[in-house]
Symmetry: C2
Subunit: 291 residues, 2 copies
Amino acid sequence: MAFDSLETPSGRRERVLGGAATHFALAASFFTKVRVVGVVGDDFLPEHEAVLTSKGIDTTGIERAPGKSFHWTGSYVKDMNAAETLATDLNVFAAFEPKIPASYLDSEYLFLANIDPVLQLRVRQTLPNVKMVAGDTMNYWIAAHRENLLKVLKELDVLLINDGEAKMLSGESNGLRAAEGVRALGPKSVIVKHGEYGATAYGSGRPFRAPAMPLHEVVDPTGAGDSFAGGFYGYIASQPELTPEVFRRAMFYGSVLGSLAVEKFGTERLQATTREEIDERVENLRDISHL
Amino acid sequence: MAFDSLETPSGRRERVLGGAATHFALAASFFTKVRVVGVVGDDFLPEHEAVLTSKGIDTTGIERAPGKSFHWTGSYVKDMNAAETLATDLNVFAAFEPKIPASYLDSEYLFLANIDPVLQLRVRQTLPNVKMVAGDTMNYWIAAHRENLLKVLKELDVLLINDGEAKMLSGESNGLRAAEGVRALGPKSVIVKHGEYGATAYGSGRPFRAPAMPLHEVVDPTGAGDSFAGGFYGYIASQPELTPEVFRRAMFYGSVLGSLAVEKFGTERLQATTREEIDERVENLRDISHL
């Protein structure tokens, strides 16, 4: 859970609601009942919580700590594909220790958003009986906390990362070999995100490539990956069984939620969308990619 | 028509047969009768010509000039996505003036490979009655010969370029806007190639995205774009009518020929493939991208 102060070629915003948990939860909320775990400070007001609760998201696991919420200041003015971090104020996040509410213990699908792998592992161990575990990470943990991250990877059914992270984690420069190298570290499936070009899933069978929707304007790329993950995983959680067909369709839902998320600043666009609009965009994505 | 001396992470080759016309003609030869125009020197031996004629390619338009053939020396060791030019020996190419044999004048499909736009325009004017004109260009002509290039663009049914060239030509940094900007300069359709991520076609209707085949090893990226163009355009030329469905399928054929071309050095892989293998790979590409 975070507040983001952003600068992009489309404009600036101060302290908009963000954070991986927020973007993921909103994206997944169109498909399934979502339960969030995170920490916020005194600056997290009822209006912020309402963004989540209005979508039926369970906020029992959001801990209130004295102080300010995590605050990230970033700019995409120089490069829309790589955020430049101007400031990271950890605030209450610095001492965060995720606590799983008793009411969450019957959860079937666990998503471990990008955070210290020690904490990801601890959460996973708190929920040993989930049906499926998916997760994310970032270059920082790959470079500086590799040993801990490797323990998390062994627990994952699905890892979602981007091209650069897959190459860094595997030491391979070829995209396909990189994905296979990451899979060899534990995850049953690896989804590699290619930004504006879509994403590829690598599992035990053949790969699957989902395109991204060409957009006239990317207003704010923050949270695109988390929204992809939320759409992907939320759709899977909504289905009775994880068939290859469900997995493929989940890739399309992920791509669609990612493309919606970036059309406005922060969570604006996901707050305004509907399942109907999402399904319509999945059909559009099919139309522009199928023979 | 060229000889290429290449260095890639997979190895080195000296003076292998290459050039846009060679790669394009070979790729297109699996679909239709191809007629080549180009210039070579004394070093172009019967064995080189046989690479083309063995595929039924008409070489009447290959001019023999005294001296050596165009020779390019390049390296992909630092970056597989951007060739580093170590030497360009224009040789007989320096004074090249394309001459269209009388036996070519009933051609229906014209492809203007990457060359000085003044020459592209002259060739186009020599064949005013063709059914369709497609073409390629590169950053050098965009930057330094823009006025001439703009005249060529007005003649094109299809322009094939890569992401960077589309952005450079249009002055737009967003991919979709860049393609629209290029289309506004003349071409009825613009195909933007995204390297390992595939390609997107932009025309009067909605865009169409074809994925690229994930490959374990890209041995030599030289000629990938020309092979894409040859597969794309050769397939179109083989069809009685250019329907949207034919156009989409042509994008898949282009992608498949591009992916085959890079699996070995120079023209080795295209020489060894068959229409059956090509069709099989189109089916694979469909399998890994369709819901």
